[in-house]
């Protein structure tokens, strides 16, 4: 039983990352009908920006002789990096996708792949191929709850991710901007004619998605403190799977699918030999998609409207 709970906790942490990144995919896909394949690399950029901010804030704190507790540095790092990375997202939208808005969808998807490669190799050129160690912002403490080992980091990661997801949900449900986004997701052609500024909404979608990816990147750095320029590729693919599985543009769907992916990967490895982990986990997802081609919460007609 402890074995099961231990894996449950591991899966919660692992799923949080997929869910956070999948949200960015899902929003862009839902609102602009666009596969933003560069999103995994924005996650990587976010992690690196977080690394830079964390190092900078720590240095500033020690210079200015202000005593900042470590958790405050972490909170500051998350907020500042989310802010900075959202500009990276807007830049990607402005330079990469906006000029191609009228182009065939395939061209836009290819653009995403190219932007991803540019971000990876740009990072390689800027910082070199050396691995970077993410600074230790919170001291790892392990709690032993009758045989199940939980660290303060794991709790923090799951709580922060859930808070961000809830905040996004509230934003989309309660604000005027959120309403504009939902309307845009409903109809891409008519809604702009009603006076909803498509460029602003597109930029905002990218900004929010990238900010979430940055948060995921920093939390990832806290849990797995080795960063490298290619860390976003496979992660991006898998989060993309979660976004599709969740259903187009559905926040709840992307969140649930992200956690489902995490659970599948961890529990498949728990039962079967770990070599077969991805083989079995993704075969199951293929099976789910066969029976629910629009994902958990996707609406069949919305796809027809656009294409």
């Amino acid at each position: 039983m402890t074995f099961f709970f231990q894996n449950l906790i591991n899966a919660l942490q692992w799923g949080s990352f997929y869910a956070l990144i999948a949200l960015g995919y899902s929003m862009v896909y839902g609102i602009l009908m666009l596969f933003n394949f560069a999103h995994g690399d924005i996650f990587m950029v976010g992690a690196y920006i977080g690394f830079g901010v964390a190092t900078g804030v720590t240095a500033l704190a020690s210079f200015g002789a202000i005593v900042l507790p470590k958790w405050l540095i972490l909170v500051l790092t998350i907020i500042i990096s989310m802010f900075l990375t959202s500009f990276v997202g807007m830049l990607v939208e402005r330079l990469g996708y906006r000029p191609l808005r009228e182009a065939p969808r395939a061209s836009a998807a290819i653009t995403g792949l190219m932007i991803g490669i540019i971000l990876e190799t740009g990072n390689l050129a800027l910082l070199g191929a050396q691995r970077v160690r993410f600074p230790t912002l919170i001291k790892s403490e392990t709690y032993n709850i009758s045989g199940v080992f939980v660290t303060n980091k794991k709790i923090m990661i799951v709580v922060v991710s859930l808070m961000l997801m809830l905040a996004l949900h509230q934003f989309v449900r309660r604000t005027k901007w959120g309403m504009a986004m939902r309307a845009m997701a409903f109809d891409f052609v008519v809604v702009p004619l009603m006076g909803v500024p498509i460029n602003t909404i597109a930029a905002m979608t990218f900004a929010i998605g990238s900010a979430l990816a940055a948060a995921a990147g920093i939390l990832f750095g806290v849990a797995y403190p080795v960063l490298d320029p290619y860390m976003g590729i496979v992660f991006g693919w898998k989060a993309f799977v979660a976004a599709i599985l969740g259903g187009r543009g559905s926040i709840l769907g992307a969140t649930l699918a992200g956690f489902l992916l995490g659970f599948l990967e961890i529990f498949v490895a728990m039962i079967f030999p770990s070599t077969l982990r991805d083989l079995i986990a993704y075969s199951i997802i293929l099976l789910i998609l066969t029976f629910r081609p629009h994902g958990f919460f996707g609406e069949p007609y919305s796809a027809r409207l656009r294409l």
Binding site: F3, Q6, N7, N10, Q13, W14, L124, G128, A129, Q130, R131, R133, T136, S140, T142, N144, F149, T151, K153, K154, F220, Y224, P225, V226, D228, Y230, M231, I233, V234, E265, I266, F267, A269, M270, P273, S274, T275, R277, D278
Partner: protein, 390 residues
């Protein structure tokens, strides 16, 4: 009339292109370095490059390599294999066919060295991999050599060490199933361990694939299996993640590694989590004597950090290459003939006294040399613990 002019002119142009290069070839000895400058293990590539540049400095200071009383200048062709098998093959093919190198040093990791060795052997170009410990690299390839011991030797060394040091009987293994080196070594360790402690004594044999960052489910399984020690023959970037996650999941028993831990970056990435752990390797920097110390000090002064085993093995491999070229007797200028002569000379090298120990090649092109067990000290240094000879 006009056509014949065109023909004559193009003849002249073509011969102008080819003659000087043919004429240059006899003058310079080109040595190819096939190294992972980018990709998964860039620190390994850096060590390779730095050691090679230091070696070239010495050769230049001596006026080149002396063959048959004549000094030939040396040029290094350093190419990046991106830490990928297919790129390593491409790099070798390019260096052999376009750059016309005499000898190739590298690739380092078995994942690249095994396929790249095939190319070198097919083109009959001598190649020496300083760091590849998988037997397949040199097996049935007369033109391929290596500068280090083999995994079938390293596996039993580690099994014996753990048994002798701690007296454990149950071990767990965690390795990357998609990479030749960890996969090979994990299996050799398993064989050796089960020979010592009987079948079923490897209680967990878990794997993952390259680029994975989360090992929690494998580690949870390993902890549940009741293993007394975890063996993980991984590269330094994964070591940091595995060790930290194991500790966070409540594992407080020893973790033992192999020579891939020996990079200068392991401790930097892993931090305090790695202190007190053991691994087997080719040489220990802390407490070195004689010319090993000389090499370490010089490298440290020049590049600002203590060289890892890759740098030391690359240094020795280049030393062997130099000795072999000196013993050829005469460079004919025919690159194919020279390559064969260098290979034959290399196979005959006896008791080469390198900084990682004395080396004599077996028929397969593998040196017979000792392994060292290193303990990561509480200051993060690699301390000599024990020497194990075949």
């Amino acid at each position: 009339m006009r056509k014949s002019w065109v023909f004559i002119i193009s003849c002249i142009v073509i011969s102008l292109i080819f003659i000087p290069s043919a004429w240059c070839k006899t003058k310079t000895i080109k040595i190819g370095i096939n190294a992972p400058m980018t990709g998964d293990i860039p620190k390994v590539g850096e060590g390779t490059k730095y050691a090679a540049e230091m070696w070239l400095e010495d050769v230049k200071a001596a006026g080149g390599i002396a063959v048959g009383g004549k000094k030939y200048p040396v040029k290094l062709v350093i190419e990046d294999n991106e830490s990928k098998a297919e790129s390593a093959v491409k790099v070798n093919t390019k260096m052999i066919t376009e750059d016309e190198v005499l000898v190739i040093v590298g690739p380092q990791a078995s994942k690249q060295a095994i396929p790249a060795g095939e190319v070198a052997n097919n083109y009959k170009t001598p190649m020496i991999s300083p760091w590849s410990t998988n037997p397949d690299t040199t097996k049935d390839r007369p033109y391929v050599f290596r500068g280090c011991f083999l995994d079938p030797f390293q596996g039993p060394v580690l099994a014996n060490f753990i048994k002798g040091e701690f007296g454990f009987t149950k071990a767990a293994v965690l390795y990357d199933v998609a990479s030749d080196y960890p996969k090979g070594l994990a299996e050799f360790f398993k064989q050796a361990w089960e020979k010592l402690n009987g079948p079923g004594s490897v209680v967990a044999f878990e794997s993952f694939t390259t680029k994975d960052a989360d090992f929690s489910s494998q580690l949870t399984k390993i902890i549940k299996s009741g293993a007394q020690v975890l063996f993980t023959p991984q590269y330094y970037n994964e070591v940091a993640l595995i060790v930290q996650q194991a500790h966070e999941l409540g594992w407080n028993k020893p973790i033992v590694g192999s020579d891939s831990w020996g990079s200068a970056e392991t401790v930097q990435l892993c931090g305090k989590d790695c202190y007190g752990l053991f691994f087997s390797t080719h040489y220990a920097a802390a407490g070195a004597k004689g010319k090993t110390k000389e090499f370490i000090d010089r490298y440290n002064k020049k590049y600002g950090y203590v060289p890892d085993d890759v740098a030391a093995l690359t240094w020795d491999s280049l030393g062997i290459v130099k000795t072999a070229i000196e013993h050829v007797g005469k460079l004919t200028g025919n690159i194919e003939k020279d390559r064969k002569n260098v290979r034959d000379a290399m196979a005959k090298v006896k008791e080469y006294d390198g900084i990682t120990g004395k080396m004599t090649f077996t028929e397969d092109g593998d040196p017979i040399k000792c392994a060292v067990i290193v303990r990561i000290s509480n200051k993060g240094e690699y301390e000599f613990y024990k020497s194990v000879c075949p």
